[in-house]
Subunit: 172 residues, 6 copies
């Protein structure tokens, strides 16, 4: 089994400026464009952990609570949370700021993307386990199991009643 | 309350060709690009139902089981499933085909996007209820409530034990 | 000779949203962008008929009577009309709609593109004949001959006096 | 009536490099991309003549005889041929060259685009007549009338039998 | 005069993936694309310092010693070095890495961009002085004067013999 | 040694229209976009001289004195000035015009880019010397040596005191 690597070694920061073609008629960033950027940042992060080509396996539920405006600067921070053989879960946080107007940065979104490391022919290949060091990293590492069960249930690859981590949540 | 509109009136079909810039080094369509296209198609679909500007509120878990190759033709079919005051859930199905090689079309993904209809100042505004007519439309209409509870739980806006539709799933 | 295929099997629907970079300083869609989209939709349609790589051979006269505005949804519908050995004529209809404002869809353009099916080395290869079934399909099938003569005359590959189908038009 | 302007004053040269996203799976420039570039070059040319915003009114039949390859340099040369009140016909010639391989430049296409000059509200506005000086300019000026009749006939705005310039062509 | 701000407060990190359209026929990143990305990252950095809209005033000599390949991850790090009334000099460092192949990151370029902060009508407006704290920041702060003289000389706005900082360099 | 080629044989003209995505929030063309276009035009020019694939080696100091607005037409004119074994210096002049408003063309920038001609494996390869014919070409040819020394000094590959051409400038 590969030697574990610290979660923080995969930290990836990306910055984008919202241009006219990224916005709808209200001058707000379109959700799909944001999902596209998040995927690129998270994929680079997963590559840093695996040192392999990676392909997107899934994205968990993402909600868009805060509008991001034309001209805003969008910052992405991604880090792996946990690996499962050849797959890696990446946590990505998004914030936006109207810097020119001197406004404060606003946290707008966060999401979990999952990637699979593959070899040159596209076959899955084992990746290093993730070493969680800080409290936040440990909390994300532990809860990764529950999110993974939810993904398997939603993909129809696990029966809800077998998802022991999830069941605990829903039984009062 | 606005007059209900049939789900099928919102049917939106979109077609894209996978170009080099959409692919990774394995010549596979990148997940983020697909999420971007799905958002555009689903947004047009929601606009057709609401006849209003719409903004993406969330996307549910999407998994990418089938690689889509450079040069493939990707087809998107979106239809609203149910409306909740000012928000609409859209179901979108994606398929891909290497037409030039005479291969059969492959269903690759499906997802649920949620949109909110807004007025000129960006304030939410009521949309027509959805009229489900076919069996598939009715099944999607009914299950929309469960998906909505999952979204609220995942966004931290509903306690798991209050999500009655979900709890039923996880209690054997 | 390949087995004939019904015209309707090639039906291709494409949808685009007009973004800022597609427009001129009056916020109208630029003609060249529309021609680009029409070519992509028509090429996919020709691919569906031929199940081969196709290359654009020509586009007939296109006129732009109706301005299409920023934010409008543009819908393309393409179908093959007739095949001539390795070439196919595709009829494409364009309509535009300001959906968010609740306006009706407007037919804006139609055009005929011609494609040639080619093998891996770029050599022309025979395609199935087109089976015209509806009255409109039959009318387009019959008139394809006249349009083909006009193309050959305009390309300097046929003498006007040999274009019997065209001559009939111009002799009172 | 505005003072006539020499055709050569509108001469516009544009150069493009064929990038991966402009090509099909055979690494040939897609026809629609070429039509897009031709429209931009011709529009700039018409603007130079009219010193007004211009909108594309039509493009005449274009045929694509020579494939243009990835990495080629494409050169466009556009010049107005004749004005009709508020509309201008632009002649555009396209050539391509694999410069890096030391190959000769190849003439690949030519086309006629028509533009209408408009004021700030989009209303047509008169443009200067065109002064044809060289033999080629005079030949293009004279034949513009025949092309205009063909456009009107094809758009259903002139009866074939009234197109006297065209009828002469088809009656042996 | 505005309160000085620490150089490190303007630190901006940007990450890009080299896609096919960014490369030449040798699959190397084109220099112009890199200059474009550097400008965006440096502009965001200058915005962070000034909290104003900024416009590019100049870029100093940039040399491209190391080729950057298709699929590489390019990382940009920008920080202001010194302010001169309404203008700011930004130092930007670029490195590239073939992460998937497990190769080490390579420093490929560095450059100095200059920006001017402007108000809503585009008029220059004063910005905070820069507080250099680390040794590298102090060295960059001090040498900024010499680079500024070179810019003025090259722009023909200062006579070489008046550029005292530069003269010292060239007199043995 | 290859046969010398006249500078004017490399003359390359490029025209671009400023679109929304090329501009900042003041509707001015972003500097990085301009640098990108200049690099493409200069690279084509160097290719014309060398008849080889070329890679950008450096760009000299560029200053942006004149804002270029949305909708303006930008014209680039590039010509080689001098060759040094496998490298070529290209002079590029940029002008912009609001043609639709009938404004005069404004010279906005000029710059010197340097390119290296390479073979299929990316190895430098000799190019023809440049034949300067007009007075301007001769002046650019002669001063190329001084600019080359400045580049070498700035890249740390020549000591300032060895740059004899530069020293002459700074010693009153």
């Amino acid at each position: 089994m590969p030697i574990p690597k610290a979660a923080r070694e995969s930290l990836t920061t990306m910055t984008e400026m919202v241009l006219p073609n990224d916005t709808n008629t209200l001058n707000n960033l379109m959700g799909g464009r944001l999902l596209h950027w998040m995927d690129i940042c998270a994929a680079i992060c997963a590559q840093k952990h695996a040192h392999r080509t990676v392909v997107t396996a899934s994205v968990d539920n993402v909600s868009f609570a805060e509008p991001i405006k034309l001209g805003n600067i969008v910052t992405f921070e991604a880090q792996v949370t946990r690996a499962f053989t050849s797959s890696m879960e990446v946590h990505i946080k998004v914030s936006a700021q109207n810097i020119a107007a001197g406004e404060a940065e606003v946290h707008t979104n966060s999401a979990f993307y999952t990637f699979v490391a593959v070899d040159q022919r596209g076959k899955p290949i084992e990746v290093p386990p993730v070493l969680a060091e800080t409290d936040e990293e440990k909390q994300l590492y532990d809860s990764a199991l529950r999110r993974r069960q939810l993904r398997l249930v939603l993909a129809g690859r696990m029966k809800p009643q077998d998802a022991t981590e999830l069941r605990a949540l829903f039984s009062a």
